[in-house]
Symmetry: C2
């Protein structure tokens, strides 16, 4: 049973302090599936315009990603362009053209209706619901969202949340959603409205997992060269859910490991433009990075005798 | 042999979303020594004006802090007032009145001249050098600084850095100092100019230790109630250096544990105004929090067989 993802399939024009790409393969469903495909089969739901260079998707297809759920419609493909600040911690969106994505409603292929895990990427909550309504059985639903939907489609978003097991958002988004600056309290707010597991992505500061029993942190990987931060959050989600999909059981321990695998994939994503690095990374490199994450946070708790004044 | 600290002894007026205090005991030397005294004897170098409520310092004295190096001068004590944003992540300084601190040059008591560790709090680098010049022997020198000195006293600050083993600064400061947005690269820049160990304090995002061999992260403690963030960085430094002072040897392992003890003390500091919590916290509570830090970051690295697609 696969991981189903619905999200954008985009042509991104991105400028960072280190370079620029035009009309590069991007979008939440693309980054997610390029990442998750390292762990588990993925099925993509999305839409492109007639102008889309379909051969670009061969990169995903060659990795076993099922693209039968990608519709081709008259009109322009979704395009996003943005420029990053010198420290890569903020970006300015220059243009967002929804194109065929604006009024897209999905029809799920028959083979897509019983995924083990469904990831509702950062899209209109009404479209997230539209997809969820066509899923006949699913063990785990995760979703992402953004400021636009929190502002403009709050009611629909809360309906999604009620049907979601895991919410993955960034720190600004959860603060805005919950109206609460404290991240732990904001996570509790979300838990009361559905998603019992909350993952707060904090960019270079790492990620936080809050479930009903505990809180877990993983730091940002201390890369000396960050090339392009675009898609890091979706690569995280892909690594996280792909890792879970490859496991029979999901205890607290698997969830924690999955967060680290997600972080590892996020750290690979930013090493190159588009999904270049996510598509050529090997499992031994992923495991090596996971081990590095462990050595980044390991310390000894001294015996009480050792700290008496 | 003690931990020597030079820094401000201030009267702080602080407003947070949760309350307000006026002319409360504050300043880098005060927060540092209230924290470090939990681990090791501390000697304070500083200055107050004739208006200073000297009885306020009894709180430190009662914990064994040596205040013979605190001079009393004609004039006003150092005063700072600030107000925090709703999410406590930014603050506006309303007023800084240096008073007697403006042209203070210290004369170290004889008993202060052979500390094991010296901490040069966030003050004019010329005053940091003035103190360092009077120290006859010391095993470890750590220093803090801020944007003001990086801007206006860069040359003196670089002279301090050349005589420093450990630099403790926040993320904005090290980026400004090194002119480099990437924190690992910025730490390397610092290492080339003196301090071989760099600790980057990231507020709610925790702290990063960069030495010549490795990088270590500790997350911010996920407090649901942050009362007043003032002094958290100095409480961190006090816990970090106090812990080191209480140990014979300083290997990579002790440094990592020290960072966690520093983080624990920072997390206690913000639970109340001024140094109230730092002064009544017990060692068993500190150790319990250190154990919580460990459970916050512990995860299993799966065997390679477990992650084959």
């Amino acid at each position: 049973m696969s991981v189903l993802v619905v999200g954008s399939i985009a042509l991104d024009t991105v400028e960072t302090p280190f370079g620029k790409v035009e009309d590069a393969l991007g979008g939440s469903a693309v980054y997610f599936s390029a990442s998750a495909a390292n762990f588990h089969p993925v099925q993509v739901v999305g839409v492109v315009g007639k102008d889309f260079p379909m051969a670009d998707l061969d990169l995903l297809r060659s990795r076993g990603v099922d693209l039968r759920g990608v519709a081709e419609r008259d009109g322009e493909s979704f395009r996003w362009s943005g420029v990053y600040s010198f420290d890569l911690n903020s970006r300015e969106t220059l243009e967002t053209r929804l194109g065929v994505f604006a009024d897209f409603r999905a029809v799920l292929p028959e083979e897509y209706r019983n995924p083990r895990i469904a990831f509702l990427g950062n899209i209109d909550p009404e479209l997230q619901i539209n997809v969820l309504d066509q899923v006949e059985s699913v063990e785990l639903v995760a979703c992402d969202t953004m400021n636009l939907w929190i502002d403009q489609s709050r009611e629909a978003l809360l309906r999604v949340l009620a049907r979601t097991n895991i919410l993955l958002v960034n720190d600004e988004e959860i603060r805005q959603l919950a109206g609460e600056p404290n991240l732990v309290k904001a996570a509790r707010w979300v838990q009361e409205r559905g998603a019992k597991t909350v993952i707060v992505k904090k960019g270079e500061h790492g990620a936080m997992l809050v479930d009903e029993e505990s809180v877990f942190f993983v730091p940002g990987y201390p890369l000396e060269e960050v090339f392009d931060p675009t898609g890091a959050g979706d690569a995280f989600a892909g690594g996280f859910l792909g890792y879970l999909a490859s496991h029979e059981q999901w205890s607290g321990e698997e969830l924690r490991s999955a967060v680290v695998f997600g972080s590892a994939m996020g750290s690979f994503a930013v090493e190159d433009f588009s999904v270049a690095r996510l598509s050529d990374v090997r499992m031994d490199e992923i495991l090596e990075r996971v081990r590095e994450f462990r050595s980044l946070t390991t310390f000894e708790v001294p015996l009480p005798e050792a700290v008496r004044v």
